[in-house]
Symmetry: C2
Subunit: 205 residues, 2 copies
Amino acid sequence: MITLHHLRIGRSIFTVWLLEEVGVEYQLRVYQRNPETMRAPPELKQVHPLGKSPVIEDEGLLLSESVAITSYVLQKYDADNEFSPSPDSLQEWAHYMQWLVYPEASVFAPLLLKMLTLRSGEEHSVISPFSDGEIELHFNHIAAQLGQRSFILGERLTGADFGITYVISMAERLGLLGNYPTLAAYLQNMRARDAFQRAVANAVE
Amino acid sequence: MITLHHLRIGRSIFTVWLLEEVGVEYQLRVYQRNPETMRAPPELKQVHPLGKSPVIEDEGLLLSESVAITSYVLQKYDADNEFSPSPDSLQEWAHYMQWLVYPEASVFAPLLLKMLTLRSGEEHSVISPFSDGEIELHFNHIAAQLGQRSFILGERLTGADFGITYVISMAERLGLLGNYPTLAAYLQNMRARDAFQRAVANAVE
């Protein structure tokens, strides 16, 4: 059975949601952030040297990185390719890979910058306009891709939706969704899913 | 034939290197940054709505994101799994995926923060110590993984080495490698490879 090391509150709830969607048996180890610094507790460093979350353990494998965890879970438990195209459909699969890695590789950094300036209450003459511009660029790109689609790649949920939902959820917490009704509606739809509700209930978010 | 849209100077040189290592035929379209803002030129937006690099075109496919491009190139042109484990070796493959996505998903953001504070000459009371701490954490993690290995996953070059080399190269440009001889030596070894030399010659870096 997969053990998920889950840090509240952060990106690992989206891994709980993944496990619920795919229907994999799992157990949670729950960690709380330091309420003053918002950093992860030192116990997580005993699990993985980076001390971050999510991390999963499965049959002796210790695995970090949300995208790698999604890929592993689907490779092992989604033999019918319900949640991702097969690599045999090469171009469709490449497009899926692009949207799978894009949230963490491109959208997260400007959101992190924005979070740090907002939390500190201290603007920066270069970082603040840079992060605002990048966030606008990426949110318009995601909104254009979503268009009238229900999910980021069309009419079915794929592995790419977990990361997209994560960055949109982070943006909502930072109060950045006002101009992006398409993203807000998508987030609402993802949260309304039974599997998401089960994830939140299990993780006591 | 693959067309690679290559922006000087940035991460796409590592995609040129990938194509040279795998032995794929390609052509380059080269773009120059605005020398004042260091941003990509508007022509790149005509290629891809994000206006970033690398982007490849291949048989009608338009693909962004370094990790997706690496995955696509290896899926299509590395049938013998010379540069990555097969998903059939599930745990080894998962570990490869972790190190493939880790540079862009986890290491790039603190390096970007550092680059922006260094370039502006303006520190920030929260961002500066945060980025310094994260960079130290990640560089020690990469150095520990490298240990006595020649490559990030052992004794052969894999798809994961391109992103690792990218972030270490970025760190070198920012003057951050002084305390990390393992990373500096790794970077030197990667740069000494014939394929890297051919990439630099072709891209006129």
